[in-house]
């Protein structure tokens, strides 16, 4: 292990140090309420983490095998006399996690810097919304500005826990922590006077939908533990490979070293596999189909064929991935998550957190390789998601919603890629997508704030006019006008924009670069990564290839639509007319990300002698494979993209609409556009199929079953009635009547009293003595009768 790897813990410590500082001292750092200090602290920490990631990367260049840096033993459980189950908290530094670290910290740092400018404006805006003044306003700024960066750093640290984890359990810890941060940040403005409730609901939705996915993850982890007796990546994978030949009992005690396991792909057979070209090849039975994985895996007492178990595990993992990476059927939370501040959308809901599912599947490639059926399902889910989300994106008007659906669609590309075994392509697209989608989100944030500045400027202008108003009539008329402007145009609705390229040139040009990269235009980053995915799809599955091709056509189309609506034509509102460019702290990250979007493809050019990323990942992703460049595929995808852009320009760019009231040109398709605008009615479907039956059932349990039946009938009527009655019977007729009566009667008989049966009250010692005597008599009679006579 290289000495440099020892600094790995810093990559987690630094963001958490930022969390600590901002959480406890953040407000004190902001003596001046407009001070950006917490943001600077957070950005420095993020930058520090990026530096650490870079150093680790350099270390890996010399020693690509990487290292596992032990921190401490998390838990150690004696399972049986021979076996101890240990989970160490170890940081895994290998080529895969290094790529993730670089992307997370790199993009993260830029977004942190951007967020300083963005949040200062955003907080100011919220101060206005709440009509705060003076010390109250200052306190508000201090609290929210420092809180935002606390959360942002917390997210960064959590994401790094996720990608550096060396076991499925530590991965899951990070998985949950980023989910928490996502929840906190989506609902960041949960006390917004207008949209607070909606924001909180969006946060809840994200959290709850993710629980469904987390259930899958947890089940997968449980099954892994049962099957392989470990959660450590190398142990699970090496034992898994071992079990193909050997029995569970033999393999489960062996360590990766004993099994001679090396994550790096060396097998000749893999080379052969990657070279095989054939449409639908993956749908045909593979050499190691589940039918052949017949080793019995014992989950408790019952043994199942290994193929079935691994398929179950991987499908459950897929469920986890569909939650976190917003795939069908769990993608519904991501569009709503755009309620969070824009840097959050960029960092968490586009660039990093949502890629956790892809990372997790890539990390588990050994398992997925054993389960061809799961791979097929993953690929189809990804392909379908890519297509469905792209269609929805075509019909959205909210600038961020379009990007949200675009993100879902692009995540679908990545999921499809890893499902097809194209792990390199998936990770490659993950990285390039992080660049240009972060760019687009940050650009959209800049646009939105530009619009808001325009709105403010408009209000200020009218204010002056108001001051010069003289006659009453004019005054009244003007009041109406003013009220109109109080319901100012939605700064996120693209119909209210137009012509922003002139007013916000830096934002506009970088945005266009990002769009082209996303559309997949040569030689921008998006082209190379998307081409590699399509190449894999072409090699493996015609169905997925078609799905993805249509999706990439739609991608190019809706991005053209968006750029046309936002940046070209004439401003359709006063706000758009008066929009201004954002400050440098916002635009500089845009420029850097723009550069990355242009040159990002260089990391994995698909030509002989390049493929740097592919070879890099071979050290940690066992089944990484590098498809051979296919000119036909590249040409087709370029043609498709260009055709879409052309079509988009014809529809939107050539004759831009002049008013925000105009209908969308595509609306003439009628119900279809409505269907897409309504997002395929997914939310309504869930409402009808899941939520309403669930609330009905809850209502039934709570009111009917619990309250009416259990409380009113069972408890009040049956139980307490029975007990009260029973107790009365026992205490009055039985204890006082039968027992006392018998006792008294016997007492009278024995004493030979002539006064007849007299009721003697209890409380007299003689009665008690009599009962004792009676007991004696019964006992003696019993003993004598039974054992003597």
């Amino acid at each position: 292990m290289q000495a440099i790897f020892a600094i790995a813990p810093l990559i987690i410590i630094l963001p958490f140090a930022g969390v600590f500082i901002n959480a406890f001292f953040g407000r004190r750092l902001m003596e001046n309420p407009d001070s950006p200090a917490p943001g600077i602290v957070a950005s420095v920490m993020a930058g520090g983490a990026f530096t650490v990631a870079l150093l680790l990367f350099i270390g890996l260049l010399n020693d690509p095998a990487g290292a596992q840096v032990p921190l401490f033993t998390w838990m150690s459980i004696q399972i049986s006399p021979e076996r101890t189950f240990v989970i160490d908290w170890t940081l895994r530094v290998d080529t895969l996690s290094s790529i993730m670290m670089l992307v997370v910290t790199g993009v993260g740092t830029l977004i942190h810097i951007y967020a300083i400018g963005y949040m200062q404006f955003d907080v100011e805006e919220n101060v206005h919304k709440r009509h705060l003044h003076g010390a109250e306003a200052d306190e508000f700024k201090r609290r929210y500005f420092s809180r935002f960066f606390t959360f942002l750093n917390l997210f960064l640290g959590s994401m790094l826990i996720l990608v550096t984890g060396n076991t499925f359990l530590t991965l899951f810890v990070g998985w949950e922590l980023v989910g928490l941060c996502s929840f906190l940040l989506i609902g960041f403005w949960n006390d917004d006077p207008e949209k607070g409730v909606a924001n909180a609901k969006a946060a809840n939705k994200a959290f709850i939908v993710n629980r469904v996915g987390d259930f899958g993850m947890l089940m997968a982890i449980f099954l892994l533990f049962w099957s392989f007796g470990s959660l450590q990546f190398d142990e699970v994978f090496s034992r898994g490979e071992c079990m193909i030949e050997g029995s569970q009992a033999d393999c489960i005690t062996l360590s990766p070293e004993e099994l001679d396991w090396n994550p790096a792909a060396t097998s000749e057979e893999e080379e052969a596999r990657s070279g095989a070209i054939g449409v639908l090849a993956s749908l045909a039975p593979a050499e190691e189909g589940p039918g052949e994985l017949n080793t019995l895996i014992f989950l408790g007492a019952v043994g199942f064929p290994m193929g079935a178990v691994v398929t179950a595990i991987t499908l459950l993992m897929l469920l986890g991935a569909t939650g976190k990476s917003a795939q069908i059927p769990l993608f519904v939370w991501l569009p709503d998550a755009m309620a969070g501040p824009t840097p959050v959308s960029a960092l968490i809901h586009a660039a990093t957190m949502v890629t956790a599912g892809i990372y997790m599947i890539t990390r588990s490639n050994v398992l997925f390789h054993m389960a061809p059926f799961s791979e097929t399902v993953v690929a189809v889910v990804g392909g379908l998601t890519a297509l469905v989300a792209a269609t929805i994106a075509v019909a959205q008007f909210d600038i961020k919603k379009v990007l949200a659906y675009s993100t879902i669609s692009q995540l679908g590309f990545m999921i499809a890629a890893v499902g097809l075994g194209g792990y390199v392509a998936g990770i490659f697209h993950l990285a390039t997508h992080a660049f240009f989608k972060a760019l687009l989100f940050l650009g959209s944030g800049s646009v939105i704030q530009g619009m808001e500045r325009g709105i403010l400027a408009g209000e200020a202008g009218h204010g002056d006019e108001h001051g010069s108003a003289h006659d009453d009539e004019h005054h009244a008329e003007h009041d109406d006008h003013h009220d109109d402007h109080h319901a100012h145009p939605d700064p996120q609705d693209m119909r209210n924009m137009g012509g922003l390229l002139q007013r916000m040139p830096t934002t506009g040009w970088t945005y266009i670069i990002g769009s082209l990269a996303l559309a997949g235009i040569v030689p921008l980053a998006g082209f190379w990564s998307k081409d590699e995915i399509l190449l894999d799809a072409n090699n493996e599955s015609l169905l997925v290839y078609i799905l993805l091709s249509v999706a990439s056509f739609l991608t190019a189309f809706y991005m053209t639509r968006q750029v046309s609506l936002v940046f070209f034509g004439q401003p359709r509102t006063d706000a758009a007319d008066q929009a201004t460019e954002s400050p440098g702290v916002v635009t500089i990250p845009l420029i850097i990300l723009g550069a990355l979007s242009v040159f990002g493809g260089l990391m994995n050019l698909p030509f002989e002698g390049f493929h740097q990323l592919g070879h890099w990942l071979e050290y940690s992703v066992t089944y990484a494979h590098i498809p051979k460049f296919n000119l036909t595929v590249a040409v087709i995808s370029t043609v498709v993209a260009l055709a879409a852009i052309g079509l988009g320009w014809l529809v939107y760019g050539r004759s831009p609409s002049q008013s925000s009231e105009d209908q969308d040109p595509l609306a003439s398709t009628g119900p279809l556009f409505g269907f897409l605008e309504a997002k395929w009615y997914w939310d309504e479907l869930y409402e009808a199929v899941l939520i309403r039956p669930f609330t009905r059932l809850s209502d039934f349990f709570a009111n009917t079953l619990d309250w009416n039946v259990f409380h009113d009938w069972f408890h009040d009527t049956l139980l307490s009635g029975f007990f009260v009655g029973g107790s009365q019977i026992m205490s009055k007729p039985i204890d006082q009547g039968v027992v006392d009566g018998t006792v008294n009667g016997l007492a009278n008989l024995v004493s030979g009293s002539s006064r007849g049966l007299r009721r003697i009250q209890t409380g007299f010692v003689r009665n008690y003595a009599l009962v004792v005597a009676l007991g004696v008599v019964v006992i003696v009679i019993f003993l004598v009768a039974r054992f003597v006579l």
Partner: protein
């Protein structure tokens, strides 16, 4: 008869009991020279003596694994794990009983030094009950245990209720003691010996007169059944518990009962394994009737002390369930450890419950109706919480000591159910009556937490002594509930060489 030598007595083996006996005699005299207003010193001295005894006992327990069982007084007394464990329980309950009395007696204006000496005397009696290996020793110990309790019951001299309690207890106690002695006499007539081992040996071989011995055994059951308040020898319990000063009630509800069971289990399991069929059915019948009567009658009580009296009858029934499983030799050890553990949990919990009653009792002895618990959760949240814990434990709800105790007791009964269907029945009755018991225990909880009480109600201050007792019992109840194996293992180890 040869007069034994000092060496053959093996006095060292019963050192704790001897220390306590001597100390008690001394304390009685020392107390004479302590002025009336300083009687708390007597209490502290008494605790000191109990502590010293406890140290001696601890040393013995520590050496037990190395030395094993010992006989003393020429076989009249046996020092085994069973006896050691029980002596521990007695010392614990005596210390707690004194702690509670230290607060209670001055408030009611009845603090006299004899109270503490009497508790010590009765503790010596209890210890010998556990140590006894001969029916005569059991009898002497029984008297030494009982007579101080009669006095304690009547300790409020100017309160007719207390005098009545003492008188009733004394008369009925004497009555049942007579049965006990008669039983001993019959057994001696039937077997020619009073030694427990001797009786067992004779019964295993040619009994001189089996019927006599069996009837004698039945009478022992009566005498000890009276002490543990089992049906139908329970009738004194409510009256005495209600009339006696609460501190004494609390103490005797555990001390006397556990001592009675100590002797009962020892006698039946050691001396009469051969007659297990005879006493097995009797114990089952008594257990069933005791549980039903105790639990059902407790429901209609309005006085907390009286309710706890019936509750203590019910708990005697549960311990009898364990005893009834001990009729099968292969289960005797398991059953006895279950009973031992149950007694420990019962001791701690019941003392705690009485401590709470004392904490809310007014200086004139009133204020112990169940209604008086209303609103306690608001006015005295800590005390209410304690009471909640004790009530949960007495009911046998998880995670309390009582639940674990019941679990072991019913568990052993169910284990034995394969041998006799009666064991299944007794276990089922036990579980059902436990459910019934929730009704009256939870009524106190209901009163405390759901009802509004008298806002003006003034509760007496809780002095450190009572506070300590409350804390020890409360924590003990929880600890036994959470870590039952801690002491159940001890209870089981106590039995390995014991019976």
């Amino acid at each position: 008869m040869d007069i034994p030598t000092l060496e053959s007595l093996n006095l060292l083996a019963v050192l704790p009991a001897i220390i306590l006996a001597a100390y008690t005699g001394l304390l009685l005299v020392v107390d004479l020279f302590i002025p009336n207003e300083n009687k708390q010193r007597t209490a502290l001295l008494a605790i000191l003596g109990l502590g010293a005894t406890g140290v001696a006992l601890g040393v013995q327990i520590n050496q037990y694994s190395a030395i094993g069982d010992q006989m003393a007084f020429g076989g009249l007394v046996i020092v085994d794990g069973y006896a050691l464990f029980l002596q521990g329980i007695f010392l614990l309950s005596a210390i707690l009983g004194i702690l509670m009395a230290m607060n209670y007696l001055p408030r009611r204006g009845i603090e006299r030094g004899e109270y503490y000496s009497l508790i010590l005397f009765t503790t010596v009696g209890s210890m010998f009950m556990a140590l006894a290996n001969d029916l005569m020793v059991v009898f002497v110990a029984l008297e030494l245990l009982s007579i101080p309790l009669y006095v304690l019951s009547a300790f409020i001299r100017d309160d007719p209720g207390s005098e009545e309690a003492g008188m009733k207890y004394f008369l009925l106690g004497a009555f049942s003691s007579a049965f006990f002695v008669y039983g001993v006499a019959l057994i001696y007539g039937g077997t020619g010996t009073t030694s427990l081992d001797g009786v067992a040996a004779v019964l295993a071989g040619e009994a001189l007169n089996l019927p006599l011995a069996l009837v004698g055994m039945g009478l022992l059951l009566v005498g000890l059944g009276f002490k543990v308040a089992a049906f139908p020898f329970h009738m004194w319990t409510p009256d005495v518990y209600q009339g006696a000063p609460t501190a004494a009630t609390g103490f005797m509800s555990v001390g006397a009962k556990v001592a009675g069971f100590a002797a009962l289990i020892r006698v039946l399991v050691t001396a009469f394994p051969g007659a297990a069929q005879a006493w097995g059915l009797l114990v089952i019948a008594i257990a069933i009737l005791t549980m039903i009567l105790g639990n059902v009658t407790a429901i209609s009580q309005s006085n907390a002390k009286r309710m706890l009296a019936y509750s203590s009858i019910a708990h005697a029934g549960y311990i009898l369930v364990a005893l009834s499983a001990a009729q099968f030799p292969e289960l005797a050890q398991e059953a006895s450890s279950a009973a031992l553990f149950y007694m420990l949990t019962y001791t701690i919990t019941n003392l705690g419950a009485f401590a709470v009653v004392m904490a809310i009792e007014k200086d004139d002895g009133s204020g112990v109706e169940i209604e008086d618990f209303a609103g306690l959760a608001k006015s005295r949240p800590a005390v209410a919480l304690m009471m909640l814990i004790f009530m949960l434990s007495l009911t046998g709800l998880p995670v309390s000591a009582g639940m674990v105790g019941k679990f072991f007791v019913f568990g052993v009964a169910i284990n034995a159910a394969s041998q006799s269907v009666w064991l299944a029945i007794v276990a089922i009755v036990g579980v059902l009556t436990s459910v019934v018991s929730a009704f009256y225990y939870m009524r106190i909880v209901y009163m405390m937490y759901m009802r509004d009480g008298d806002e003006e109600a003034e509760y007496p201050a809780i002095k450190p002594a009572l506070g300590t007792a409350l804390a020890v019992t409360g924590i003990g109840t929880l600890v036994l509930g959470f870590l039952p194996t801690l002491l159940f293992d001890a209870a089981q180890r106590a039995l390995i060489a014991g019976l």
